[in-house]
């Protein structure tokens, strides 16, 4: 596997616990992702996959333990430094979170807001520089919908909108790309294409990639490493090729305590 050395940052969680609304969501999680690595997160709903991803971009804070990105401790960052770090981390949300009545170009360009001033933001949205627009166009080419550059975003199909969300995250020029169940609501063919796209782009850009998903087949096809989460704990952490049915059955087993 080619790992571009350009700008990837490693991600580290050490003894991390998170409680949300009084409920423990993650408990004593250790995870070390080296720069440029692609990691799949699997586990039943409520296992803490989304929370883990949100820890990495600092939208959820750890109650205990240390979260580091590129060697920097997130808890030690002030608001300004945290924003700068977030500008360096792309996030593809399951529900995309695009602005439906803006053009595709504007949604893609909005990925760069973390690095723009307020006047720069207005220029970017209303009269973008040719260089920015070209870069947005090239990204849309790479995700396969260059002709949609000036389309209104709510005119796109679900699969096309998802590609816009990916392009927006890449327009950030991040060093880490996070994707929360990007294939949970698309058909199998589209799911395969989307994951292939994410993994290929991350490799080309030299990004560290963390993706939460459910399908073991897709994990084996696209990822080198898989981390299983259950009840907020790391159940296993191994090469994706070693992901077998017994492991998954145990990970996804219905809890007797929940049933009773």
């Amino acid at each position: 596997m080619i790992t571009a050395p350009v700008r990837a940052a490693g991600v580290g969680l050490a003894g991390v616990s998170v409680r949300l609304g009084g409920r423990p969501v993650l408990a004593d999680v250790d995870l070390e992702v080296v720069p440029g690595q692609a990691v799949a997160l699997v586990g039943p709903s409520g296992a803490g996959k989304t929370t883990l991803l949100r820890l990495v971009n600092g939208t959820v804070r750890a109650d205990r333990g240390r979260v580091t990105v590129g060697g920097r401790d997130l808890a030690a960052l002030g608001p300004g430094a945290l924003r700068a770090l977030r500008a360096d981390i792309g996030f593809v949300h399951q529900d995309l979170r695009l602005v439906p009545n803006l053009r595709v170009s504007q949604n893609v360009l909005s990925g760069a807001l973390g690095r723009r001033s307020l006047p720069g933001t207005l220029r970017l949205m209303l009269r973008p520089a040719a260089a920015d627009l070209h870069r947005a166009h090239r990204l849309l080419e790479r995700v396969g919908i260059p002709e949609k550059l000036f389309e209104r975003t709510d005119r796109l199909s679900g699969g096309q909108a998802q590609r816009v969300a990916v392009a927006r995250a890449l327009f950030q020029q991040p060093s880490v790309l996070l994707a929360d169940e990007p294939v949970a609501s698309v058909d199998p063919a589209r799911a395969r294409a989307t994951l292939a796209l994410l993994v290929r782009l991350a490799r080309e850009e030299g990004l560290t990639l963390l993706v939460s998903l459910h399908d073991p087949q897709l994990v084996r096809e696209h990822f080198g490493r898989v981390v299983g989460l259950r009840d907020g704990r790391v159940a296993f952490d191994r090469p994706a090729a070693a992901l077998d049915e017994a492991l998954l059955a145990d990970l996804y087993r219905l809890d007797d305590r929940d049933a009773s």
Partner: protein, 279 residues
Amino acid sequence: MRPERRFGATGSLGASVGVLVLGLAAAWASGRVLDLRAGDLAPGAGGWQLAGDFFGRALRPALAFEGAYDGGRLGVVLQAGRAAVTTVAFAAAAVSLSLVGGLVMGFLGSSAWWPGRRAAAVTVPVRLLAAAMRSVHELIWAVLLLAAFGTDRLVAVLAIAIPYAGTLAKVFAEMIDEAPRDAAGALAAAGASPLQGFAVGLLPRAVPDMTAYAFYRFECALRSAAVLGFFGFPTLGYYLSASFENLHYGEVWTYLYALFVLVLAVDAWSGRLRREVTR
């Protein structure tokens, strides 16, 4: 997707029935309080005569003046045209002023604008001010301002602009607060400041509704400006009331039709612009 507020999917039918029952009960109760009787509405012979004269001219609006004044064969039409232009000018001046106030106060009064819990310190005073401005009707503002400043044209403009700014502030704040915040949140998670997230992720989703509402208020302002003519401002209402007092019903209809055409024109214009905005 945010969960539906106020009524859930199952509760909405029950709530509608409840509101309907409440409305009927209120109608009955207020009828008792005001001692309303349908029979009281029966007009006398003179009333029937006047109504007949007035509505008889509906299909025959005047072109020339009906009184002694000779303004040419199309005197009233020209007068109505001039008054219509003045009415539009008053309404436009008032709405543009109220838009400035409404936008500023609407932004300050929306909680989406303010990160964290400090919001109430700003939003509550702003919302109170807006409520105070719109709780006084434009006619009462006109009376107050006329007493203070005399019949300066700015008085009419301010009389409309003040309560309208209060209304716009309330509605704009609600539209901003009800716009989905998911995209703004996503931008903030990618390093954007709250203000950037607001401007790019949230505001664009409120703008089509805000534009449509501003146009509707312009339509309202046309009526308000026309009515302020009763105080002597040279809008359609001024000529309309003068003609009515002189029993020149044909002229009254000409002015009424002019108002009707104005409202239709604004409606057509705003419809086109709204399609542009939402396209």
